[in-house]
């Protein structure tokens, strides 16, 4: 599985679809999903997997090249897998889509300050620093990460890794298999320090 292309080039946004699949957390489920894409000839731009808010369910976020197959077919074929519980296409939703990149750059006493300035502009964090290198961690959409990579290239990128896109619909609507949070529980969560919807800063926008 490839993550987002690292050379900064990517298809026009309208051909990309962000599909979220809620899947049973069972051995082989990722193989089932990836094998389906291979044999049906659907191109994956990015695939990420992690736990969801429900124990026993994982959440797969796929970025699919809509030119390679009608996204409706992708969704239906995914849903046919027994271990896939729910499939949603977030593309037409107002969504937050993010990925993380770690970038190891050649850095010395001469140019380190310049790199730190660039990092500040992109709100990237310095997560490691050594005599001849630094590692930047950046969170954002693909364009932002591509932009930072481009700025770092002249200094010499020694190593790069990206997580691929994860996404979530804004507002109360969810992509989970459960009903929306009951009001009582929502209040409980709020009392424990979670910020109420609408107050969240969209930090990287």
């Amino acid at each position: 599985m490839s993550t987002t292309t690292t050379n900064g080039s990517k298809p026009a946004p309208h051909t990309q679809h962000t599909v979220v699949a809620i899947v049973e957390d069972k051995p082989g489920v990722l193989m089932r999903v990836s094998s389906l894409f291979r044999r049906r000839g659907f191109n994956i731009e990015s695939l990420t997997v992690g736990h969801s808010e429900v124990e026993g369910l994982s959440r797969i976020t796929l970025v699919v090249d809509g030119e390679s197959a009608p996204v409706e077919q992708v969704e239906k074929q995914l849903y046919k897998l027994i271990d896939v519980v729910k499939v949603s296409d977030l593309s037409n939703e107002d969504m937050v889509a993010r990925e993380i990149a770690l970038i190891k750059i050649r850095a010395n006493n001469v140019n380190r300050h310049e790199l730190l300035d660039i990092a500040t502009v992109f709100r990237a964090d310095v997560v490691d620093i050594a005599t001849n290198s630094i590692i930047l961690q950046v969170v954002g959409d693909e364009d932002k990460i591509d932009g930072l990579i481009k700025m770092c290239e002249p200094y010499g990128i020694r190593e790069l890794t990206r997580t691929g896109r994860i996404a979530m619909v804004r507002g109360t609507k969810t992509t989970t298999v459960h009903e929306a949070e009951p009001e009582k529980i929502a209040r409980l969560h709020a009392s424990q320090g979670r910020r109420v919807e609408g107050e969240l800063p969209f930090a990287s926008d």
Partner: protein
Amino acid sequence: MARMTGAQMVLESLQREGVDTMFGYPGGVVLPLYDTLPQFPGMRHILCRHEQGAAHMADGYARASGRMGLCLGTSGPGATNLVTGICTSWMDSTPVFALTGNVGRSLLGKDGFQEADITGITQPITKHNYLVMNAREIPLTIREATHIATTGRPGPVLVDIPKDVFQETAEFDWPETVSLRGYKPNVEGHAGMIRRAAELIDQAKRPIIISGHGVIWADAHRELVELAEKANIPVITTFLGIGSFPESHDLSYGWLGMHGMFYANMAADAADVVIGIGMRFDDRAMGRFKDFNPTAKIVHIDIDPAEIGKNFPTAVPIVGSAKNVLPRLTEQVKQQSRPDWIRWIDNQREEHPSLHIRESRRMLPQYVVRTLYEETQGNANIVTGVGQHQMWAGQHYFYNRPRQLITSGGLGTMGFELPAAIGAQVALPDMETWAICGDGSFQMTLQEMSVLVDEQLPVKMAIFNNGYLGMIRQWQELFYDKNYSSSGISQPDFCKLADAYGIRAIRVETKAEVPLAIKEARAYKGPILLDFQIDQEENVWPMVPAGASLAETIEAPAHELAR
């Protein structure tokens, strides 16, 4: 609850799911299961001679009876030999349960003797599969697997069990219900869509129903007749849909596709509304997609939502079982007579009678099939291999009930006929069962003749012997300048071979002997092989050349009709 070994749990669970017959072959890692088998006298085990045979037998059993078929193989080669059969079931959506053993848990992934990652191998060709790592999971797994195989769009499942899990002891905990949150087939059909379909059918001037295998598996053939009769809609079937609508019915116009009837192809191409029921608009049926009847509006009724819109844009999609959808559709459509449209198709059939068999002194294969039809009064179950003989069996026998023709359509698996006929005969012991065999196709699985002898199964084998891989030769003749590269095939003396197995055989060399041989085979109580020395270079017509559209269907050329 009781403590049981894994092997006992497997057999107990299968029995609770109604399985009483298994087709299998023993091997090292399934020995614990075979050791336990005598404790379950209600479970009949039929010993195949190659696991591919076991998988086809389970498939034939399922197709003939409508019940799930079960095949069993050991790890490694036993499991991989099942693969062709599993894929055959997958392509034709038949409920087959494949049970395999694997090496002990501590050896999994270590490339131990006879280890194969069979769940990985069969992942794309099963509806679902399982590797069971604890004996206590066996009852639930078998329940789930059976549920998946037999509901919604049926399909094969595979359950792989390591040797030491068969031997492990645990509490047998039978789950009363199965609930899979990722698997909830929608059988009902959307009321609004059914209404729209009814409106479209009412307005249609030239509607046609294309009925498929799904109608048979939904057990909806009566409901289909009611719909067709009320709205006077001509019905054609897909190749696998043969039998889903009685071919003797006035509204039946045969089947469409690459070797379908000329008038069926023309009707599909001329229709203004195409109602596909339990079928998947496959390329062999529809010809070149982009040129299939571009003005037709498509109503697609299928239980698998992924089939809708896969190959053609659909005007009215209805996801549901034909069993539920058709009565509601019948209720809502208007009674109509459509005389002009029906006359148009009748004229096509009169002008292009695809099923006419010409007078000839040669033993034409079409004549053999037709004679079989007449001798059996159309009542036999027909099981075919793959190739020319398969097409002739589909064309020149007439089928009036579902499950009467058993054939590998989607995967086109040569060698299917004999083992599938064995499965069908086991499922329906009193049914006259004919395996129509190609001389090439038969040689792929002929070792299963031993099973006929072991189990005393009265399967009638009719070999269509033309000394060629006939369909290959036909393509080479028509599209490769008669370059008959590797299509001439030598064969053993099939009669001597049958004799060696202890099976009676008759060589049929002239046309005059055909009805006599068939009569004799029917009168004989046991298995029998008829070796029909058919005309060598007969071709299957009509034909839609590969990559052509249905409108380009070609009929038998004059020089061939003069032969």
